[in-house]
Protein backbone atom coordinates (compact mmCIF):
# COMPACT_ATOMS: atom_id res chain seq x y z
CA UNK A 1 0.00 0.00 0.00
CA UNK A 2 2.75 2.38 1.00
CA UNK A 3 4.64 1.53 -2.12
CA UNK A 4 1.55 2.20 -4.22
CA UNK A 5 1.18 5.60 -2.60
CA UNK A 6 4.79 6.46 -3.29
CA UNK A 7 4.44 5.27 -6.84
CA UNK A 8 1.38 7.39 -7.48
CA UNK A 9 3.09 10.36 -5.87
CA UNK A 10 6.09 9.86 -8.14
CA UNK A 11 3.79 9.51 -11.12
CA UNK A 12 1.91 12.66 -10.23
CA UNK A 13 5.21 14.48 -9.86
CA UNK A 14 6.54 13.21 -13.15
CA UNK A 15 3.37 14.17 -14.97
CA UNK A 16 3.50 17.57 -13.33
CA UNK A 17 7.02 18.00 -14.61
CA UNK A 18 6.09 17.43 -18.21
CA UNK A 19 3.12 19.64 -18.75
CA UNK A 20 3.90 20.62 -22.31
CA UNK A 21 4.17 17.46 -24.35
CA UNK A 22 5.73 17.92 -27.74
CA UNK A 23 4.72 14.80 -29.64
CA UNK A 24 6.57 16.05 -32.73
CA UNK A 25 9.79 14.93 -31.03
CA UNK A 26 8.49 11.45 -30.74
CA UNK A 27 9.27 9.87 -34.07
CA UNK A 28 7.05 6.87 -33.56
CA UNK A 29 4.14 9.16 -34.17
CA UNK A 30 1.19 10.85 -32.67
CA UNK A 31 -0.28 10.17 -29.29
CA UNK A 32 2.15 7.64 -27.93
CA UNK A 33 4.02 9.18 -25.05
CA UNK A 34 7.05 7.31 -23.78
CA UNK A 35 7.47 6.57 -20.11
CA UNK A 36 11.07 6.55 -18.98
CA UNK A 37 12.01 5.32 -15.51
CA UNK A 38 15.22 6.70 -14.04
CA UNK A 39 16.95 5.13 -11.08
CA UNK A 40 19.84 6.55 -9.05
CA UNK A 41 22.06 4.48 -6.76
CA UNK A 42 20.43 6.34 -3.89
CA UNK A 43 17.82 9.05 -3.88
CA UNK A 44 19.29 11.37 -1.27
CA UNK A 45 22.70 11.66 -2.86
CA UNK A 46 23.46 15.16 -4.16
CA UNK A 47 25.27 13.72 -7.13
CA UNK A 48 22.12 11.95 -8.35
CA UNK A 49 19.84 14.80 -7.40
CA UNK A 50 21.73 16.98 -9.82
CA UNK A 51 21.58 14.18 -12.43
CA UNK A 52 17.81 14.35 -12.01
CA UNK A 53 17.75 18.10 -12.69
CA UNK A 54 19.19 17.39 -16.12
CA UNK A 55 16.82 14.47 -16.59
CA UNK A 56 13.81 16.68 -15.83
CA UNK A 57 15.07 19.24 -18.32
CA UNK A 58 15.37 16.59 -21.05
CA UNK A 59 11.96 15.11 -20.19
CA UNK A 60 10.30 18.52 -20.57
CA UNK A 61 12.08 19.10 -23.82
CA UNK A 62 11.16 15.72 -25.26
CA UNK A 63 7.70 15.47 -23.80
CA UNK A 64 8.20 12.12 -22.13
CA UNK A 65 6.91 10.92 -18.79
CA UNK A 66 9.72 10.56 -16.33
CA UNK A 67 9.55 8.31 -13.29
CA UNK A 68 12.29 8.77 -10.72
CA UNK A 69 12.76 6.31 -7.91
CA UNK A 70 15.56 4.49 -6.16
CA UNK A 71 16.70 3.18 -2.80
CA UNK A 72 17.07 5.63 0.07
CA UNK A 73 20.53 4.23 0.64
CA UNK A 74 22.59 2.35 -1.93
CA UNK A 75 20.91 -1.05 -1.83
CA UNK A 76 21.13 -3.53 -4.73
CA UNK A 77 18.14 -5.56 -3.48
CA UNK A 78 15.93 -2.49 -3.35
CA UNK A 79 17.05 -1.56 -6.86
CA UNK A 80 15.87 -4.96 -8.08
CA UNK A 81 12.49 -4.53 -6.38
CA UNK A 82 11.90 -1.17 -8.01
CA UNK A 83 12.88 -2.50 -11.42
CA UNK A 84 10.43 -5.37 -11.04
CA UNK A 85 7.69 -2.90 -10.15
CA UNK A 86 8.52 -0.87 -13.21
CA UNK A 87 8.38 -4.02 -15.36
CA UNK A 88 4.92 -4.78 -14.03
CA UNK A 89 3.85 -1.21 -14.56
CA UNK A 90 5.05 -1.47 -18.14
CA UNK A 91 7.36 1.49 -18.65
CA UNK A 92 9.04 1.90 -22.05
CA UNK A 93 12.64 2.50 -21.01
CA UNK A 94 14.55 1.94 -17.79
CA UNK A 95 17.70 3.96 -17.11
CA UNK A 96 19.69 2.84 -14.11
CA UNK A 97 22.91 3.57 -12.26
CA UNK A 98 23.82 0.13 -10.96
CA UNK A 99 24.95 -0.34 -7.39
CA UNK A 100 25.94 -3.93 -8.05
CA UNK A 101 26.93 -5.02 -11.52
CA UNK A 102 25.93 -8.67 -11.25
CA UNK A 103 23.15 -8.29 -8.69
CA UNK A 104 20.95 -6.27 -10.97
CA UNK A 105 21.27 -8.34 -14.12
CA UNK A 106 18.40 -10.78 -13.46
CA UNK A 107 15.88 -8.01 -12.92
CA UNK A 108 17.08 -6.14 -16.00
CA UNK A 109 17.01 -9.29 -18.12
CA UNK A 110 13.40 -9.92 -17.09
CA UNK A 111 12.48 -6.35 -17.95
CA UNK A 112 14.00 -6.70 -21.41
CA UNK A 113 12.08 -9.92 -22.01
CA UNK A 114 8.97 -7.82 -21.58
CA UNK A 115 10.19 -5.53 -24.35
CA UNK A 116 11.42 -2.77 -22.07
CA UNK A 117 14.59 -1.05 -23.33
CA UNK A 118 17.43 -0.64 -20.84
CA UNK A 119 20.22 1.91 -20.63
CA UNK A 120 22.69 2.26 -17.80
CA UNK A 121 24.44 5.44 -16.75
CA UNK A 122 27.15 6.39 -14.24
CA UNK A 123 27.84 2.73 -13.30
CA UNK A 124 27.33 -0.01 -15.82
CA UNK A 125 25.64 -3.39 -15.46
CA UNK A 126 27.02 -6.44 -17.24
CA UNK A 127 26.96 -5.60 -20.94
CA UNK A 128 24.46 -8.32 -21.93
CA UNK A 129 21.47 -6.91 -20.06
CA UNK A 130 21.40 -3.36 -21.42
CA UNK A 131 21.42 -1.69 -24.82
CA UNK A 132 23.68 1.26 -24.09
CA UNK A 133 25.82 2.62 -21.28
CA UNK A 134 25.95 6.39 -20.94
CA UNK A 135 29.62 6.74 -20.04
CA UNK A 136 30.47 9.93 -18.19
CA UNK A 137 34.21 9.94 -18.79
CA UNK A 138 36.84 7.97 -20.66
CA UNK A 139 40.31 7.45 -19.17
CA UNK A 140 41.77 9.49 -22.00
CA UNK A 141 39.37 12.37 -21.40
CA UNK A 142 40.25 12.40 -17.70
CA UNK A 143 44.00 12.08 -18.28
CA UNK A 144 44.12 14.81 -20.88
CA UNK A 145 41.97 17.23 -18.91
CA UNK A 146 44.06 16.77 -15.75
CA UNK A 147 47.35 17.19 -17.57
CA UNK A 148 46.19 20.17 -19.63
CA UNK A 149 44.88 21.89 -16.52
CA UNK A 150 48.16 21.23 -14.68
CA UNK A 151 50.07 22.72 -17.61
CA UNK A 152 47.82 25.76 -17.78
CA UNK A 153 48.25 26.49 -14.06
CA UNK A 154 52.03 26.11 -14.05
CA UNK A 155 52.73 27.86 -17.36
CA UNK A 156 53.70 24.49 -18.85
CA UNK A 157 56.84 24.41 -16.76
CA UNK A 158 58.13 22.77 -13.59
CA UNK A 159 57.84 19.77 -11.31
CA UNK A 160 54.62 18.12 -10.22
CA UNK A 161 53.60 15.05 -8.22
CA UNK A 162 50.64 12.69 -8.36
CA UNK A 163 48.72 11.30 -5.40
CA UNK A 164 46.80 8.17 -6.35
CA UNK A 165 44.67 5.75 -4.34
CA UNK A 166 46.87 2.73 -4.81
CA UNK A 167 49.52 1.63 -7.25
CA UNK A 168 47.35 -1.31 -8.25
CA UNK A 169 43.92 0.29 -8.85
CA UNK A 170 43.14 -0.48 -12.48
CA UNK A 171 41.14 2.65 -13.29
CA UNK A 172 43.72 4.97 -11.73
CA UNK A 173 46.62 3.27 -13.45
CA UNK A 174 44.73 3.79 -16.68
CA UNK A 175 44.38 7.51 -15.88
CA UNK A 176 48.04 7.76 -14.93
CA UNK A 177 49.04 6.15 -18.19
CA UNK A 178 47.01 8.75 -20.07
CA UNK A 179 48.39 11.60 -17.97
CA UNK A 180 51.94 10.46 -18.65
CA UNK A 181 51.23 10.01 -22.35
CA UNK A 182 49.85 13.55 -22.59
CA UNK A 183 52.85 14.85 -20.63
CA UNK A 184 55.33 13.16 -22.96
CA UNK A 185 53.47 14.34 -26.01
CA UNK A 186 52.78 17.99 -25.21
CA UNK A 187 54.69 19.36 -22.22
CA UNK A 188 58.47 18.76 -22.44
CA UNK A 189 59.29 21.33 -19.77
CA UNK A 190 57.13 19.68 -17.12
CA UNK A 191 58.39 16.82 -14.98
CA UNK A 192 56.54 14.22 -12.93
CA UNK A 193 58.85 13.79 -9.94
CA UNK A 194 56.85 11.44 -7.70
CA UNK A 195 53.73 9.29 -7.60
CA UNK A 196 52.48 8.40 -4.13
CA UNK A 197 49.64 6.10 -3.05
CA UNK A 198 47.32 7.28 -0.28
CA UNK A 199 45.17 4.12 0.13
CA UNK A 200 42.14 6.25 -0.80
CA UNK A 201 42.43 8.01 2.56
CA UNK A 202 42.35 11.76 3.07
CA UNK A 203 44.62 11.60 6.11
CA UNK A 204 47.32 9.65 4.31
CA UNK A 205 47.12 11.94 1.28
CA UNK A 206 47.77 14.83 3.65
CA UNK A 207 50.82 13.15 5.22
CA UNK A 208 52.24 12.19 1.83
CA UNK A 209 51.79 15.70 0.48
CA UNK A 210 53.43 17.23 3.56
CA UNK A 211 56.55 15.15 2.87
CA UNK A 212 56.46 15.76 -0.89
CA UNK A 213 56.32 19.53 -0.42
CA UNK A 214 59.53 19.60 1.59
CA UNK A 215 61.31 16.70 -0.16
CA UNK A 216 60.75 18.39 -3.54
CA UNK A 217 61.11 22.12 -2.82
CA UNK A 218 60.64 23.02 -6.51
CA UNK A 219 57.26 21.34 -6.68
CA UNK A 220 54.78 23.51 -8.55
CA UNK A 221 51.66 21.39 -8.44
CA UNK A 222 50.07 18.39 -6.76
CA UNK A 223 47.63 16.36 -8.83
CA UNK A 224 45.30 14.17 -6.76
CA UNK A 225 43.54 11.53 -8.83
CA UNK A 226 41.35 9.92 -6.17
CA UNK A 227 38.60 11.95 -4.51
CA UNK A 228 39.69 11.89 -0.84
CA UNK A 229 43.20 12.95 -1.85
CA UNK A 230 42.16 16.35 -3.20
CA UNK A 231 41.15 17.90 0.15
CA UNK A 232 43.98 15.94 1.83
CA UNK A 233 46.61 17.44 -0.45
CA UNK A 234 45.03 20.87 -0.09
CA UNK A 235 45.19 20.73 3.71
CA UNK A 236 48.89 19.85 3.55
CA UNK A 237 49.63 22.73 1.18
CA UNK A 238 47.69 25.08 3.42
CA UNK A 239 49.49 23.90 6.58
CA UNK A 240 52.84 24.34 4.84
CA UNK A 241 51.88 27.95 4.07
CA UNK A 242 52.29 27.30 0.36
CA UNK A 243 48.76 28.14 -0.77
CA UNK A 244 48.90 29.46 -4.31
CA UNK A 245 52.64 28.82 -4.66
CA UNK A 246 51.98 25.11 -5.04
CA UNK A 247 48.80 24.49 -6.99
CA UNK A 248 46.40 21.67 -6.19
CA UNK A 249 44.13 20.03 -8.74
CA UNK A 250 42.34 16.73 -8.82
CA UNK A 251 39.35 14.56 -9.48
CA UNK A 252 36.76 15.23 -6.84
CA UNK A 253 33.41 16.46 -5.67
CA UNK A 254 32.69 20.20 -5.42
CA UNK A 255 31.23 19.86 -1.91
CA UNK A 256 34.38 18.29 -0.48
CA UNK A 257 36.63 20.94 -1.97
CA UNK A 258 34.56 24.11 -1.87
CA UNK A 259 36.37 25.53 1.16
CA UNK A 260 39.83 25.07 -0.36
CA UNK A 261 38.78 26.33 -3.78
CA UNK A 262 37.41 29.50 -2.22
CA UNK A 263 40.61 29.98 -0.21
CA UNK A 264 42.57 29.52 -3.44
CA UNK A 265 44.46 26.51 -2.06
CA UNK A 266 42.88 24.24 -4.67
CA UNK A 267 42.63 25.74 -8.13
CA UNK A 268 40.62 23.20 -10.11
CA UNK A 269 38.44 20.24 -9.31
CA UNK A 270 37.68 18.05 -12.27
CA UNK A 271 34.57 15.95 -12.72
CA UNK A 272 31.77 15.68 -15.22
CA UNK A 273 28.71 17.86 -15.25
CA UNK A 274 26.20 15.65 -13.49
CA UNK A 275 23.29 17.67 -14.87
CA UNK A 276 24.47 16.85 -18.37
CA UNK A 277 24.81 13.19 -17.45
CA UNK A 278 21.13 13.09 -16.45
CA UNK A 279 20.15 15.10 -19.52
CA UNK A 280 22.03 12.84 -21.90
CA UNK A 281 20.71 9.69 -20.23
CA UNK A 282 17.09 10.71 -20.82
CA UNK A 283 17.85 11.77 -24.38
CA UNK A 284 19.47 8.42 -25.07
CA UNK A 285 16.64 6.54 -23.35
CA UNK A 286 14.08 8.43 -25.42
CA UNK A 287 15.88 7.80 -28.68
CA UNK A 288 16.25 4.14 -27.83
CA UNK A 289 12.59 3.80 -26.86
CA UNK A 290 11.35 5.56 -29.97
CA UNK A 291 13.69 3.59 -32.20
CA UNK A 292 15.81 6.47 -33.49
CA UNK A 293 18.93 5.16 -31.76
CA UNK A 294 20.03 1.71 -32.79
CA UNK A 295 23.03 -0.39 -31.79
CA UNK A 296 25.96 0.40 -34.07
CA UNK A 297 25.30 4.14 -34.40
CA UNK A 298 28.45 6.28 -34.27
CA UNK A 299 26.99 9.58 -33.18
CA UNK A 300 23.76 10.78 -31.78
CA UNK A 301 22.29 14.28 -31.57
CA UNK A 302 21.29 14.95 -27.96
CA UNK A 303 19.49 18.27 -27.70
CA UNK A 304 21.62 21.10 -26.39
CA UNK A 305 24.67 18.84 -26.10
CA UNK A 306 24.79 18.53 -29.90
CA UNK A 307 26.38 15.52 -31.53
CA UNK A 308 27.50 12.98 -28.97
CA UNK A 309 30.06 10.34 -29.79
CA UNK A 310 29.21 6.67 -29.41
CA UNK A 311 32.01 4.16 -28.97
CA UNK A 312 30.65 0.65 -29.39
CA UNK A 313 27.74 0.54 -26.95
CA UNK A 314 29.05 3.43 -24.86
CA UNK A 315 27.47 6.83 -25.32
CA UNK A 316 30.14 9.32 -24.30
CA UNK A 317 29.33 12.42 -22.29
CA UNK A 318 32.51 13.99 -23.59
CA UNK A 319 35.11 16.18 -21.93
CA UNK A 320 35.10 16.38 -18.14
CA UNK A 321 34.05 19.62 -16.51
CA UNK A 322 36.34 21.86 -14.47
CA UNK A 323 35.04 23.36 -11.23
CA UNK A 324 36.86 26.46 -10.03
CA UNK A 325 36.40 29.52 -7.87
CA UNK A 326 34.06 31.14 -10.39
CA UNK A 327 31.56 28.33 -10.83
CA UNK A 328 31.82 26.02 -7.79
CA UNK A 329 28.95 27.66 -5.92
CA UNK A 330 26.49 26.56 -8.59
CA UNK A 331 27.00 22.91 -7.63
CA UNK A 332 25.96 21.30 -4.39
CA UNK A 333 26.93 17.65 -4.54
Amino acid sequence: MKRLLILSAVLAFAVGCSKSPKPSHNEEGAGKKLTIALMPKSKGNGYFISCKQGADEAARELGVDLLFDGPTDPDPARQNEIIENWSTLGVDVIAVACENKEGISTALRKARQKGIKVVTYDSDSTTDVRDFFVNQATPQGIGNTLMDEAARLTGEEGEFAIITASLTAANMNEWRKNIEARLAEKYPRMKLVATKPCDDLKDKAQSETTSLLSAYPNLKLVMAICTPAVPGAAEAVKQAGKSGAVKVIGLGLPSENRKYVKEDVTQSVILWKTIDLGYLTIHAANALGSGTLKPGAATYKAGRLGDVEIAGDNILLGKPFIFNKENIDQFDF
Binding site: S42, N45, D73, P74, L167, A194, T195, K196, P197, D199, D200, L201, K202, D203, Q206, S207, E208, T210, S211, L212, L213, S214, A215, P217, P228, P231, G232, E235, A236, Q239, A240, G241, S255, E256, K259
Partner: protein, 310 residues
Amino acid sequence: MRIRYFREWSVVAVLVLLLGALAIMAPAFFDGQPMLSRLAREAPTLVAACGIALVIICRQIDISIGSQFALCGVCAGLLAAAKLPMAVVCVGSIAAGTSLGAINGALVAGLGLPSIVVTLATMVIWREGLRWYREGQFINLPDQFQWFGLSQSAGQYTLLWIAALLLIILALAMKHLAVGRFFYAVGSDAEAARLAGIRPRLTTFTAFVLLGAFTGLAAMMNVVQSPQVDPKSGTGLELKAIAAAVVGGVAISGGRGNLWGLFAGLLLLITINPALTYLHVEPYWEKAIQGAIILLAVIADGVRSRRQPH
Protein backbone atom coordinates in the same frame (compact mmCIF):
# COMPACT_ATOMS: atom_id res chain seq x y z
CA MET B 1 69.22 -6.98 31.88
CA ARG B 2 71.33 -6.44 28.79
CA ILE B 3 69.45 -9.12 26.91
CA ARG B 4 66.07 -7.95 28.17
CA TYR B 5 66.37 -4.66 26.37
CA PHE B 6 67.90 -6.08 23.24
CA ARG B 7 64.97 -5.35 20.95
CA GLU B 8 64.32 -1.82 22.17
CA TRP B 9 67.93 -0.88 21.68
CA SER B 10 68.13 -2.49 18.27
CA VAL B 11 65.11 -0.42 17.26
CA VAL B 12 66.71 2.75 18.58
CA ALA B 13 69.91 1.90 16.73
CA VAL B 14 68.07 1.44 13.42
CA LEU B 15 66.20 4.69 14.01
CA VAL B 16 69.43 6.59 14.72
CA LEU B 17 71.03 5.15 11.58
CA LEU B 18 68.02 6.17 9.48
CA LEU B 19 67.95 9.68 10.91
CA GLY B 20 71.71 9.94 10.37
CA ALA B 21 71.34 8.95 6.74
CA LEU B 22 68.58 11.53 6.33
CA ALA B 23 70.68 14.24 7.98
CA ILE B 24 73.39 13.68 5.37
CA MET B 25 71.33 12.89 2.27
CA ALA B 26 68.14 14.85 2.82
CA PRO B 27 68.53 17.47 5.56
CA ALA B 28 65.19 18.98 4.51
CA PHE B 29 63.64 16.12 6.48
CA PHE B 30 64.36 18.04 9.67
CA ASP B 31 62.72 21.30 8.55
CA GLY B 32 60.44 22.63 11.26
CA GLN B 33 57.02 22.86 9.67
CA PRO B 34 56.83 19.51 7.86
CA MET B 35 58.30 17.82 10.95
CA LEU B 36 55.75 19.39 13.27
CA SER B 37 52.88 18.58 10.89
CA ARG B 38 54.07 15.00 10.54
CA LEU B 39 54.43 14.45 14.28
CA ALA B 40 51.03 16.01 14.96
CA ARG B 41 49.51 13.69 12.35
CA GLU B 42 50.98 10.69 14.17
CA ALA B 43 50.16 11.83 17.73
CA PRO B 44 46.77 10.04 17.55
CA THR B 45 48.54 6.88 16.40
CA LEU B 46 50.71 6.97 19.52
CA VAL B 47 47.66 7.31 21.75
CA ALA B 48 45.92 4.36 20.10
CA ALA B 49 49.15 2.32 20.17
CA CYS B 50 49.48 2.88 23.93
CA GLY B 51 46.04 1.34 24.29
CA ILE B 52 46.84 -1.62 22.10
CA ALA B 53 49.99 -2.27 24.13
CA LEU B 54 47.83 -2.78 27.24
CA VAL B 55 45.67 -5.30 25.42
CA ILE B 56 48.64 -7.16 23.95
CA ILE B 57 50.35 -7.29 27.34
CA CYS B 58 47.17 -9.00 28.61
CA ARG B 59 47.78 -11.61 25.89
CA GLN B 60 44.84 -10.39 23.80
CA ILE B 61 44.61 -8.51 20.54
CA ASP B 62 42.23 -5.90 19.10
CA ILE B 63 42.14 -5.45 15.36
CA SER B 64 38.96 -3.37 15.42
CA ILE B 65 40.60 -0.12 16.54
CA GLY B 66 40.77 1.30 13.01
CA SER B 67 37.01 0.95 12.74
CA GLN B 68 36.52 2.29 16.27
CA PHE B 69 38.67 5.26 15.33
CA ALA B 70 36.52 5.98 12.27
CA LEU B 71 33.27 5.64 14.22
CA CYS B 72 34.49 7.93 17.00
CA GLY B 73 35.72 10.42 14.40
CA VAL B 74 32.34 10.49 12.67
CA CYS B 75 30.68 10.82 16.07
CA ALA B 76 32.92 13.78 16.96
CA GLY B 77 32.35 15.27 13.51
CA LEU B 78 28.57 15.10 13.79
CA LEU B 79 28.63 16.63 17.29
CA ALA B 80 30.93 19.39 16.07
CA ALA B 81 28.81 20.01 12.99
CA ALA B 82 25.82 20.40 15.31
CA LYS B 83 27.78 23.34 16.79
CA LEU B 84 28.16 21.75 20.24
CA PRO B 85 30.99 23.02 22.46
CA MET B 86 34.46 21.52 22.08
CA ALA B 87 34.31 19.81 25.49
CA VAL B 88 31.08 18.00 24.59
CA VAL B 89 32.56 16.83 21.28
CA CYS B 90 35.64 15.56 23.11
CA VAL B 91 33.62 13.70 25.74
CA GLY B 92 31.34 12.30 23.03
CA SER B 93 34.23 10.87 21.07
CA ILE B 94 35.85 9.30 24.13
CA ALA B 95 32.50 7.96 25.36
CA ALA B 96 31.84 6.37 21.98
CA GLY B 97 35.27 4.72 22.06
CA THR B 98 34.79 3.53 25.63
CA SER B 99 31.47 1.90 24.72
CA LEU B 100 32.95 0.16 21.70
CA GLY B 101 35.87 -1.03 23.81
CA ALA B 102 33.43 -2.29 26.46
CA ILE B 103 31.59 -4.36 23.83
CA ASN B 104 34.84 -6.06 22.78
CA GLY B 105 35.86 -6.42 26.41
CA ALA B 106 32.56 -8.00 27.44
CA LEU B 107 32.69 -10.51 24.60
CA VAL B 108 36.30 -11.45 25.24
CA ALA B 109 36.52 -11.31 29.04
CA GLY B 110 32.89 -12.05 29.82
CA LEU B 111 32.13 -14.83 27.36
CA GLY B 112 35.71 -16.00 27.00
CA LEU B 113 35.68 -15.75 23.20
CA PRO B 114 38.99 -15.45 21.33
CA SER B 115 39.83 -11.77 20.94
CA ILE B 116 41.07 -12.14 17.36
CA VAL B 117 37.67 -13.50 16.28
CA VAL B 118 35.62 -11.03 18.30
CA THR B 119 37.53 -7.98 17.09
CA LEU B 120 37.65 -9.26 13.52
CA ALA B 121 33.86 -9.33 13.65
CA THR B 122 33.47 -5.92 15.29
CA MET B 123 36.06 -4.46 12.90
CA VAL B 124 33.90 -5.45 9.94
CA ILE B 125 30.60 -4.54 11.59
CA TRP B 126 31.67 -1.00 12.59
CA ARG B 127 33.36 -0.34 9.28
CA GLU B 128 30.53 -1.62 7.09
CA GLY B 129 27.91 0.01 9.29
CA LEU B 130 29.68 3.30 8.77
CA ARG B 131 29.86 2.73 5.04
CA TRP B 132 26.12 2.08 4.98
CA TYR B 133 25.44 5.14 7.09
CA ARG B 134 27.76 7.72 5.51
CA GLU B 135 28.32 6.31 2.01
CA GLY B 136 31.84 7.67 2.29
CA GLN B 137 30.57 11.21 2.51
CA PHE B 138 32.78 13.68 4.38
CA ILE B 139 31.47 15.72 7.29
CA ASN B 140 32.27 19.41 7.01
CA LEU B 141 33.19 20.96 10.34
CA PRO B 142 32.53 24.51 11.55
CA ASP B 143 35.28 27.05 10.87
CA GLN B 144 36.42 27.54 14.46
CA PHE B 145 36.78 23.84 15.18
CA GLN B 146 40.16 23.13 13.63
CA TRP B 147 43.11 23.15 16.07
CA PHE B 148 40.72 23.51 19.02
CA GLY B 149 40.20 27.08 17.82
CA LEU B 150 43.91 27.83 18.38
CA SER B 151 46.52 28.78 15.79
CA GLN B 152 47.90 25.98 13.65
CA SER B 153 51.21 25.55 15.48
CA ALA B 154 49.63 25.99 18.94
CA GLY B 155 47.11 23.31 18.00
CA GLN B 156 49.84 20.99 16.79
CA TYR B 157 51.90 21.46 19.97
CA THR B 158 48.79 20.81 22.06
CA LEU B 159 48.35 17.47 20.30
CA LEU B 160 51.98 16.54 20.90
CA TRP B 161 51.63 17.42 24.58
CA ILE B 162 48.49 15.34 25.00
CA ALA B 163 50.19 12.31 23.43
CA ALA B 164 53.42 12.81 25.37
CA LEU B 165 51.67 13.21 28.74
CA LEU B 166 49.55 10.15 28.14
CA LEU B 167 52.62 8.12 27.20
CA ILE B 168 54.62 9.23 30.25
CA ILE B 169 51.81 8.77 32.76
CA LEU B 170 50.85 5.38 31.38
CA ALA B 171 54.45 4.16 31.16
CA LEU B 172 55.10 5.13 34.77
CA ALA B 173 51.81 3.64 35.94
CA MET B 174 52.53 0.36 34.18
CA LYS B 175 55.90 0.12 35.86
CA HIS B 176 55.26 1.45 39.32
CA LEU B 177 51.61 0.97 40.20
CA ALA B 178 50.27 -2.37 41.35
CA VAL B 179 47.36 -2.01 38.93
CA GLY B 180 49.86 -1.63 36.13
CA ARG B 181 51.54 -4.88 37.08
CA PHE B 182 48.16 -6.67 36.98
CA PHE B 183 48.19 -6.47 33.17
CA TYR B 184 51.59 -8.17 33.02
CA ALA B 185 50.54 -10.80 35.54
CA VAL B 186 47.38 -11.70 33.63
CA GLY B 187 49.27 -11.77 30.35
CA SER B 188 52.06 -14.06 31.62
CA ASP B 189 49.88 -16.53 33.46
CA ALA B 190 46.22 -15.86 34.07
CA GLU B 191 45.81 -18.79 36.46
CA ALA B 192 48.77 -17.78 38.60
CA ALA B 193 47.46 -14.22 38.62
CA ARG B 194 44.07 -15.43 39.79
CA LEU B 195 45.66 -17.41 42.61
CA ALA B 196 47.57 -14.28 43.58
CA GLY B 197 44.25 -12.47 44.02
CA ILE B 198 44.10 -10.62 40.67
CA ARG B 199 40.88 -10.87 38.69
CA PRO B 200 42.00 -11.78 35.16
CA ARG B 201 38.63 -11.17 33.50
CA LEU B 202 38.19 -7.75 35.04
CA THR B 203 41.76 -6.84 34.12
CA THR B 204 41.25 -7.94 30.52
CA PHE B 205 37.94 -6.08 30.33
CA THR B 206 39.64 -2.95 31.68
CA ALA B 207 42.37 -3.20 29.04
CA PHE B 208 39.78 -3.25 26.24
CA VAL B 209 37.81 -0.38 27.76
CA LEU B 210 40.96 1.72 28.15
CA LEU B 211 41.93 0.94 24.58
CA GLY B 212 38.48 2.09 23.45
CA ALA B 213 38.77 5.31 25.42
CA PHE B 214 42.25 5.98 24.02
CA THR B 215 41.00 5.29 20.51
CA GLY B 216 38.18 7.79 21.07
CA LEU B 217 40.69 10.37 22.24
CA ALA B 218 42.92 9.60 19.27
CA ALA B 219 40.00 10.06 16.87
CA MET B 220 39.26 13.44 18.43
CA MET B 221 42.95 14.41 18.06
CA ASN B 222 42.70 13.50 14.40
CA VAL B 223 39.43 15.31 13.74
CA VAL B 224 40.78 18.66 14.93
CA GLN B 225 43.56 18.54 12.33
CA SER B 226 41.46 19.28 9.28
CA PRO B 227 38.17 20.96 8.45
CA GLN B 228 36.54 17.70 7.35
CA VAL B 229 36.05 14.20 8.72
CA ASP B 230 36.72 11.33 6.35
CA PRO B 231 34.53 8.41 7.49
CA LYS B 232 37.16 6.04 6.10
CA SER B 233 39.84 7.40 8.43
CA GLY B 234 41.73 4.97 10.60
CA THR B 235 41.86 2.26 7.93
CA GLY B 236 45.06 0.35 8.67
CA LEU B 237 45.50 1.97 12.08
CA GLU B 238 45.36 -1.44 13.79
CA LEU B 239 48.29 -2.70 11.72
CA LYS B 240 50.35 0.39 12.43
CA ALA B 241 49.65 0.28 16.17
CA ILE B 242 50.24 -3.47 16.50
CA ALA B 243 53.41 -3.21 14.42
CA ALA B 244 54.70 -0.37 16.59
CA ALA B 245 54.08 -2.43 19.71
CA VAL B 246 55.66 -5.59 18.34
CA VAL B 247 58.64 -3.81 16.80
CA GLY B 248 59.09 -1.98 20.11
CA GLY B 249 59.46 -5.22 22.02
CA VAL B 250 55.93 -5.82 23.33
CA ALA B 251 55.62 -9.61 23.13
CA ILE B 252 52.62 -10.74 21.12
CA SER B 253 52.48 -13.74 23.49
CA GLY B 254 51.64 -11.35 26.35
CA GLY B 255 53.13 -10.40 29.69
CA ARG B 256 56.18 -8.57 28.41
CA GLY B 257 57.10 -5.21 26.93
CA ASN B 258 56.96 -1.55 27.86
CA LEU B 259 55.69 1.68 26.41
CA TRP B 260 59.12 3.21 25.81
CA GLY B 261 59.89 0.37 23.46
CA LEU B 262 56.55 0.93 21.77
CA PHE B 263 57.37 4.63 21.41
CA ALA B 264 60.69 3.77 19.75
CA GLY B 265 58.93 1.27 17.48
CA LEU B 266 56.37 3.84 16.42
CA LEU B 267 59.01 6.50 15.80
CA LEU B 268 60.83 4.07 13.54
CA LEU B 269 57.68 3.11 11.64
CA ILE B 270 56.53 6.69 11.07
CA THR B 271 60.00 7.70 9.94
CA ILE B 272 60.39 5.03 7.28
CA ASN B 273 57.58 6.21 5.02
CA PRO B 274 58.52 9.91 4.75
CA ALA B 275 62.20 8.93 4.69
CA LEU B 276 61.56 6.99 1.49
CA THR B 277 59.93 10.08 -0.01
CA TYR B 278 62.89 12.26 0.97
CA LEU B 279 65.35 9.71 -0.35
CA HIS B 280 63.34 9.58 -3.60
CA VAL B 281 62.76 5.83 -3.33
CA GLU B 282 60.06 4.36 -5.56
CA PRO B 283 56.80 4.05 -3.60
CA TYR B 284 56.50 0.42 -4.69
CA TRP B 285 59.09 -0.43 -2.01
CA GLU B 286 57.37 1.28 0.87
CA LYS B 287 55.23 -1.56 2.19
CA ALA B 288 57.85 -4.23 1.51
CA ILE B 289 60.41 -2.31 3.56
CA GLN B 290 57.94 -1.81 6.39
CA GLY B 291 57.20 -5.52 6.36
CA ALA B 292 60.88 -6.40 6.37
CA ILE B 293 61.48 -4.28 9.45
CA ILE B 294 58.61 -5.90 11.34
CA LEU B 295 59.92 -9.33 10.38
CA LEU B 296 63.40 -8.38 11.62
CA ALA B 297 61.99 -7.38 14.98
CA VAL B 298 60.08 -10.65 15.30
CA ILE B 299 63.18 -12.66 14.40
CA ALA B 300 65.11 -10.78 17.07
CA ASP B 301 62.37 -11.69 19.51
CA GLY B 302 62.58 -15.35 18.52
CA VAL B 303 66.35 -15.41 18.96
CA ARG B 304 66.01 -13.71 22.34
CA SER B 305 63.46 -16.14 23.76
CA ARG B 306 65.42 -19.18 22.54
CA ARG B 307 68.48 -17.96 24.39
CA GLN B 308 66.56 -17.34 27.56
CA PRO B 309 65.68 -20.60 29.32
CA HIS B 310 62.12 -20.70 30.62
